[in-house]
């Protein structure tokens, strides 16, 4: 490990948290996670209700964990064993809520100044001016949050949090409701700001697109537990949990039986459901006869009107179109191959292939587009 890495890790956020929450229907929810976030953006990904916001509330000091420890660099913010519990005011953690929580009666500039009460006037002016510019809101300084656009409010909220020079930044779905271009521009400004400071940023989202756009590292949370972590490609393209697969946008989730293992080739054959369809998928820890679940994206399936020849893809299934319906810019086809598949195709392809209900088609699946769900 070189010097830079060691410096980075010395300011990392390391936390293990346990928090039980009783719901109204006496069903209790337990958050029980351990995580480490080095400098840069770490994405917390999971469905709504997975516990992401509770986790951020615990880190920010707004909710007291039942047990655990939270450390930033060498500062202990919370330690149930040592009875340490810093107030949110003392944590040097910035937290941008989903609702942004801008103060409606204060101007953009007053909002941004709010966290700098303890700093001498002159210093404060300079820091406010700097951050107003870094997040491109200097022209709005005298406007109230109710008078500016959604994107401008999000920029203001980021500026207000970051002007305090925090040691960690928590972002709870701060860019929801913005179009992709605007989102990318704001994220760019955030990255630029963090390039010099290199603090850990925990970015909560349930949007797969944001994970792809931001992704350096991702931690996947489901039902209060960390189920997976790593770089987005590894974590999200080989889903380990069924619910995760659904969140991550795998439209086809099929139950299958393992027929035989071909270890030299790194593959195994499985039979889908009760049908006669057999496909080849990547080898997993399974035995012949085991029941497994396989997740396939609708967009990863090719569709042909004649039996394809000379393809590298190993899985070709014959079926019949059941229905075709428009979904935004693409068409969703349901194809019955003994088990039902959902396939996404472009409207142009539908016209060119003269696809219609009851038409006979062949589906082509690449082995590595079939992800096993453990």
């Amino acid at each position: 490990m070189d010097a830079v890495d060691r410096e980075v890790n010395s300011s990392a956020l390391v936390a293990s948290i346990r928090k039980e929450r009783r719901g109204a229907s006496s069903s209790s929810f337990v958050l029980d996670v351990s995580l480490e976030a080095a400098s840069g953006i770490t994405i917390l990904f999971g469905a709504s209700g997975a516990g992401k916001s509770t986790l951020l509330d615990c880190l920010g000091g707004l909710v007291h964990p039942d047990a655990g420890k939270i450390v930033v660099g060498e500062n202990v913010l919370f330690d149930s064993a040592a009875n340490i519990q810093l107030l949110p005011q003392k944590r040097c953690i910035a937290y941008v809520f989903q609702s942004l929580a801008l103060f409606p009666h204060l101007t953009v500039e007053e909002n941004i100044e709010y966290g700098l009460a303890a700093i001498p006037e002159q210093d404060r002016r300079a820091r406010v001016a700097e951050i107003l510019e870094a997040f491109r809101v200097d022209k709005l300084r005298n406007q109230k949050p109710g008078e500016i656009s959604g994107g401008e409010r999000q920029r203001t909220a980021l500026a207000r949090s970051l002007v305090t020079a925090p040691r960690v930044l928590l972002l709870d779905e701060p860019l929801t409701g913005l179009d992709a271009e605007l989102k990318a521009a704001i994220v760019e400004d955030l990255r630029a700001w963090n390039a010099a400071r290199r603090i850990p940023i925990l970015y909560v989202t349930h949007s797969r697109e944001e994970v792809d756009a931001l992704g350096e590292r991702v931690i996947v949370i489901d039902n209060g537990r960390v189920v997976s972590h790593g770089v987005p490609m590894d974590v999200l393209d080989a889903p380990r949990r069924k619910r995760l697969a659904q969140t991550a946008g795998f439209e086809n989730l099929l139950i299958a039986t393992v027929l035989d293992l071909r270890e030299p080739d790194g593959v195994m054959r499985i039979r889908l459901g009760e049908s006669t369809c057999e496909i080849e998928v990547p080898l997993a820890h399974a035995r012949v006869g085991d029941r497994v679940e396989v997740a396939i994206r609708a967009g990863d399936i090719l569709l042909a009107t004649e039996r394809p020849r000379g393809l590298s893809a190993r899985n070709i299934l014959e079926g019949r179109i059941v229905s075709l319906e428009r979904r935004g810019a693409m068409m969703k086809a349901q194809v019955d191959c003994g088990v039902m598949f959902i396939v996404h195709i472009t409207p142009g392809a539908v016209r060119a292939l003269e696809l219609s209900a009851a038409k006979q088609v062949w589906l082509v699946l690449k082995t590595h587009s079939c992800h096993l769900v453990e």
């Binding site: 103060f103 009666h105 009460a117 109230k144 207000r160």
Partner: protein, 222 residues
């Protein structure tokens, strides 16, 4: 007209005192998570349902020369509390308490909790959060509390009669004056004063409803 000014003076004192002591009570009621909170809430609301004569009776007993309040007051000021302006203020504060505390409490509760969380995360303590966030956003509630406790004190009769009696220039408030004049068949004079009270009551309610419609709070444009 003497009695009118006396009433204004009394109502002004009471509204000012209630604003000061009402705020911490309302703050506690709005944000405490103590289970027994309903007890205090009930005590605060008690003057709403209690007949004024009952309240006035106990106030008189407490303030009398043998009552605990009366004795305490006498040791500091050398005279009793009953049938004095100070005694009237004290009893009126109790009587109008819910009219100050409830609007404050409701408006404190209505402030978005996320704003308070944001304030805490930005390093502000409770006092700064209250001064910079809660209070400005509760302005309609503060105006309502002031105006209602003022108006309610202006119109009180039973408590004043029990505690203050009817001493011209000291405890004869406008509502007692009106009663007096009706008793002595001076209907013209009584009508004069009554009309003024009616006009004030109407103006006050207009003000309360207007601030609570947020006619003057531009930041709710969102």
């Amino acid at each position: 007209m003497n009695s009118l000014w006396l009433s204004f003076e009394l109502a002004g004192c009471v509204a000012a005192i209630l604003l000061v002591i009402g705020m911490p009570v309302a703050y506690w009621l709005a944000y405490s998570s103590w289970r027994g909170k309903f007890l205090l809430e009930s005590i605060v609301a008690l003057p709403l349902v209690l007949p004024p004569t009952v309240l006035g009776f106990y106030a008189l007993v407490a303030m009398g020369p043998r009552g605990p309040l009366g004795k305490l007051w006498a040791t500091f000021f050398g005279h009793g509390l009953a049938f004095t302006f100070s005694g009237l203020v004290l009893a009126s504060v109790v009587y109008s308490f819910p009219f100050a505390v409830q609007p404050l409490m409701v408006s404190f509760e209505a402030v978005d909790r996320k704003l308070l969380d944001a304030s805490a995360v930005l390093g502000a303590g409770r006092w700064r959060t209250f001064r910079r966030i809660i209070l400005p956003l509760s302005l309609p509630g503060v105006v309502t509390a002031l105006v209602l406790s003022f108006a309610h004190t202006l119109g009180e009769f039973g408590v004043v009669l029990m505690v203050g009696g009817n001493l011209a220039g000291v405890t004869r408030t406008v509502s007692i004056d009106i009663y007096d004049r009706v008793q002595s068949l001076e209907y013209g004079e009584a009508n004069h004063l009554a009309l003024i009270l009616l006009a004030i009551a109407f103006a006050v309610l207009c003000l309360v409803y207007a601030v609570n419609r947020r006619v003057w709070t531009p930041w709710t444009a969102k």
